[in-house]
Symmetry: C2
Subunit: 201 residues, 2 copies
C-alpha cells in the first residue's frame, strides 16, 4: 500500500527517502470492512480520507431517505467540508467495499508542513486541482439532462456501474432508480439498432 | 479599492507594509463596464478574478441557450478550472454590473510565493475553504427541490434577486423562469396567509 501512496504523491513531487520515512512513521494506513460508517451526520471529525483500495460514499439522510452525493475510489480523497469550516458534518461517509485508506488530520499536516515546507505547495496544488474538478462536475451536473449525466458517467467512471448498488448510483446522478432503468433500456436499444441494420441483406 | 483587498487578505493574515507595497506595485486593479466579456468559451486564459465591486457571471452556451452556473459578487473570486487544468475554457465569464476586479495569474503568484512564502499558506487555506464551500453548494443543489433552492438563495444571497436578471437567476437555480415565477407566487401567498389570519376578529 505504501507504494500506491508514494506513487500518487510522486505524480506531483519526487519524494526523498527521508520524507518517505516520515510519512510511514505517521502510521496513516487504516483497514475497514464494507459497510463501516466512517463519519456520522451531525458529528465533528478532524479526519480526511484518501482511498488506496476500495470505495467510500458520502450520503445525506433526508426525511429518512439516503441521498448519495459522491463516491471516492482509488487515488481519490475527501477532506469533509465540516473539518475545513469547523462545523458539524451535514453528511455521513460509509465504505461501499472493503477499504484500505490513508488518513490524516490538520495537526499531522501542520507538523509535516513545518518540517518539509514543500508539502504545503503540494497540498495547495492538489486543493486547487480538486476545486477545479469539483467546479467542472457541478457545472456539468447543472447543465446536463439525466441521460447526459448517465452517459457522462459511462465515459468518465465506467467502473462505478459495476461496483456500487444501482439505487445509490441513481441517487448520485440525481434521478430515480426507475428513470435510470429507462435510460439504460433506451441506450441498449440504441446500441442494438446498428447491429440489426448490419444483418440486413 | 486597495483597502477592500487588504481587508479581505487581512481576514486571514495581517499584512506588513512591505507586503502591501508589493501588492500595489503589481497593479492588480481593473475596471470593466457592465456587459464586458472577460473570458470566452473555448479560449485559453491565465487570468483569475476577484470581485471588489460589482458582479460577474459564469455561463455555458448549449444549443444556443445560455446556462448560468455561478455569480460572483464582492469578496468572491474565480480561478477558471481551465487555468488550473490547462484546458480550453468550457464556459464564458461576463460582467453583470460595472465592475472593479483584482486580477492575478500563476506567474504573478509564483513570484509572490518566492518572496513571501506565507502567501502560499494563505492560498492553500483559501483554496481549501473554497473547495469545502463548493462541495457543500453542490451537495445542496443535488439534495434540494427547486423551491428549497430558491428559499436557500433568499437566505444565503438575498441581494442576488435584486442584482441579476430573473432568467439568469432561474438558470443558475436549474429551473425555468416560469417555474421560478410560480415558486415566488406560491411563497408570497404563504406569507400573506398569517397576516390575513391576524386581521380576523
Amino acid at each position: 500500500m505504501k507504494e500506491l501512496l508514494f506513487s500518487f504523491i510522486e505524480s506531483y513531487l519526487p519524494l526523498k527517502e527521508e520524507e518517505k520515512k516520515v510519512i510511514l512513521d505517521l502510521d496513516v494506513f487504516e483497514f475497514y470492512k464494507k459497510g463501516t460508517i466512517l463519519l456520522n451526520e451531525g458529528k465533528y471529525s478532524n479526519k480526511s480520507y484518501f482511498v488506496l483500495k476500495g470505495c467510500i460514499r458520502a450520503f445525506y439522510t433526508i426525511e429518512g431517505i439516503e441521498k448519495t452525493t459522491e463516491f471516492y475510489t482509488e487515488m481519490e480523497g475527501i477532506v469533509p467540508p465540516s473539518l475545513t469550516l469547523g462545523t458539524a458534518s451535514e453528511f455521513s461517509i460509509d465504505c461501499v467495499e472493503d477499504c484500505i485508506l490513508s488518513t490524516s488530520n490538520p495537526e499531522m499536516e501542520g507538523a509535516i508542513f513545518e518540517r518539509f515546507p514543500r508539502f504545503e505547495t503540494l497540498c495547495r496544488v492538489i486543493s486547487e486541482e480538486l476545486l477545479a474538478k469539483n467546479k467542472s462536475s457541478f457545472d456539468n451536473f447543472k447543465t446536463s439532462t439525466p441521460q447526459q449525466r448517465y452517459e457522462n458517467l459511462l465515459t468518465t467512471r465506467p467502473e462505478l456501474t459495476q461496483r456500487v448498488p444501482q439505487h445509490q448510483l441513481a441517487s448520485y446522478l440525481g434521478i430515480t432508480p426507475q428513470s435510470m432503468s429507462r435510460i439504460r433500456k433506451r441506450m441498449s436499444k440504441m446500441k442494438e439498432r446498428p447491429n440489426k441494420a448490419n444483418l440486413l441483406p
